[in-house]
Symmetry: C2
Subunit: 333 residues, 2 copies
DNA sequence: TTGTAAGCGTTATCAA
DNA sequence: TTGATAACGCTTACAA
């Protein structure tokens, strides 16, 4: 059973309030008394009970990290940097993996409502907008969104400019002299995916290349999806000369299919992927990719929620980060 | 400001203690009263303040997940399953990324001491045995170890039989008719790595193949490490015919080096890796690997710590899980 | 500068 | 079956 503040007060022969002031570096304690108290605190390695502190101050120093699937691409990196930033400010992150399960998501959002946590960060995933809207509007709960976007309601958000990413990838391929660029992407109802499509279209427009619906392959974000996408595209009348793939798994499948078909990358088809995971470097040839600033994403999200908690102003409510093109072998002639 | 138990009591016209009994399904409340109270609870969507509950009951329903590096191989999968199990039992996981920083590790272990969490799970990493020993011995703190092992002190542990993994990999190569099997591994002071070496040696012994120190390449767990390992091994007098690589990154580097040298896998060199990540399937040719039961690892760890918290007996204090060999192209003739 | 005492929202003990 | 009331460990007016 650890020592309590009361114990320390007794040992020091002062009142509890004096000890409280001393350990919280608050004014109103004589230098002598303060030193004496701190001495005892050190000696006994006293640690305040944060539960009691939380109850009295009505704060937990806990943050909920709500994520649909912890194993998502780049999430470890994002979370690591998030945790680091939060920790430096004295906050801890609670893992809330919703498994895309609406009931679980609701339960977790409730943590915020119950004042179990001081705020929540929602990372990626399709948003159950209703839940979030309720939370954000009806109550004064603190939320930050990362790599996803809420409709109809303004919530502080940090995300990567996926349209820009799509634009960069497509322009890069166009600059290689290619004109028939296929886009292999996930479901278009996913906001992140549709943004990449927008960027793709914008690039074509800027280069006066007509948009062809046939070249857009929407599939599920899996290896098989990528694999089949290639053979689907090979059935159209005019074959593509390059591919922009919006996801790692898709890229794996696609490149396998290309090789399986006896074609060369980038000789027959140039390929640009999305997300700079280890996978893109392992794929042969090494994949040119649009890289997202994962660490920055995590850090900013943590900074945002902590600012919110401390009633500090946030410069940009929707903070958009720039992706970067990393050129490797799969796209150079 | 959410409703409190007091508010409910006032509305129901009963004492707080009665409400407490009712919502906690405790005996000593008349059926009528109970129903009336629960009605009001539902109507107002009352949620008990868990901080206050924790203070009164001296439990937080929080678990610390202490990990050296969140981005470790397979950790997402382990953690996901851990979180699921914990959550089903009403516990939440707090992320504690130590960054291999002893000071941070100490701080985090303190969470347990401060009764900020009910228990802690330590996942992988080199152990600062001193810290843990103190915690486990001096105080009655609750700890579970996953994929690491404490010396000198008995702490409930869940881990994969890495010696068995090394054995399986080596025997598989031997069964292919190979006799000169090189082992590319990380630093031998890492318990997990040295276990794999043990398994390797046992396999050789069982097949009456002499152990040759030359064939053991110890390097850092990186892509470059794997790459250089190949060229180091090519300098010895009698070349190997197969490789057992204990890590994904090493495998990437090694296969690159083999191809760079103009050799074929498995024609010239068979390769077996460790850990069934997506990477092993991407490497060309697809890698035969020793796969670890990641989900089981996470689930059991959570179950263990919860049992510990509830004073339930644990069947095996050190629970050893079996790895499994997944045969792909890199090792078949 | 220091102490007293009332909260924070529960649970638990003991009477009634 | 119920209700007061004292904890739990800390913060914070308000007094002294």
């Amino acid at each position: 059973m650890p020592l309590t503040l009361k114990d320390i007060a007794k040992i020091a022969g002062v009142a509890e309030s004096t000890v409280s002031r001393a350990i919280n570096n608050k004014p109103g304690v004589g230098a002598q008394t303060r030193e004496k108290i701190m001495e005892i605190v050190r000696e006994h390695n006293y640690q305040p009970n944060q539960l009691a502190q939380g109850l009295a101050k009505r704060e937990t120093h806990l943050l909920a990290l709500i994520v649909a699937d912890l194993t998502g691409p780049g999430y470890s990196e994002i979370i690591k940097s998030m945790e680091k930033t939060a920790n430096q400010a004295g906050y801890q992150l609670i893992i809330c993996n919703t498994d895309n399960n609406l009931a679980k998501e609701k339960t977790y959002l409730n943590l915020v409502g119950q004042h179990r946590v001081d705020g929540a960060i929602i990372l990626g995933g399709t948003l159950a907008n209703n839940n979030i809207m309720k939370l954000a509007l009806n109550q004064d709960e603190l939320l930050v969104l990362v790599n996803c976007l809420a409709e109809e309601v303004l919530i502080p958000t940090v995300l990567v400019d996926n349209a820009r990413g799509g634009y960069l990838a497509t322009v890069h391929l166009l600059e290689q002299g290619l004109e028939k660029i296929a886009l292999v992407m996930g479901p278009a109802n996913d906001f992140l995916e549709s943004e990449k499509l927008n960027g793709y279209q914008q690039a074509l427009a800027d280069y006066n290349i007509p948009f062809r619906e046939q070249l857009i392959i929407k599939t599920n974000l899996s290896r098989e999806g990528g694999y089949n996408a290639f053979f689907r595209v090979m059935k159209i009348d005019e074959l593509p000369d390059g591919f922009f793939v919006t996801n790692d798994l898709l890229a794996i499948g696609l490149t396998e299919a290309i090789k399986m078909g006896g074609y060369l990358i980038p000789g027959d088809f140039a390929v640009v992927g999305y997300g700079d995971s280890i996978i893109s470097a392992v794929i042969n040839p090494a994949l040119t990719v649009v890289a997202e600033p994962l660490q920055q994403l995590g850090r900013l999200a943590a900074e945002y929620i902590i600012k919110l908690i401390n009633d500090q102003a946030i410069e940009e409510v929707i903070r958009v980060l720039e992706p970067e093109l990393i050129i490797r072998e799969s796209s150079s002639p």
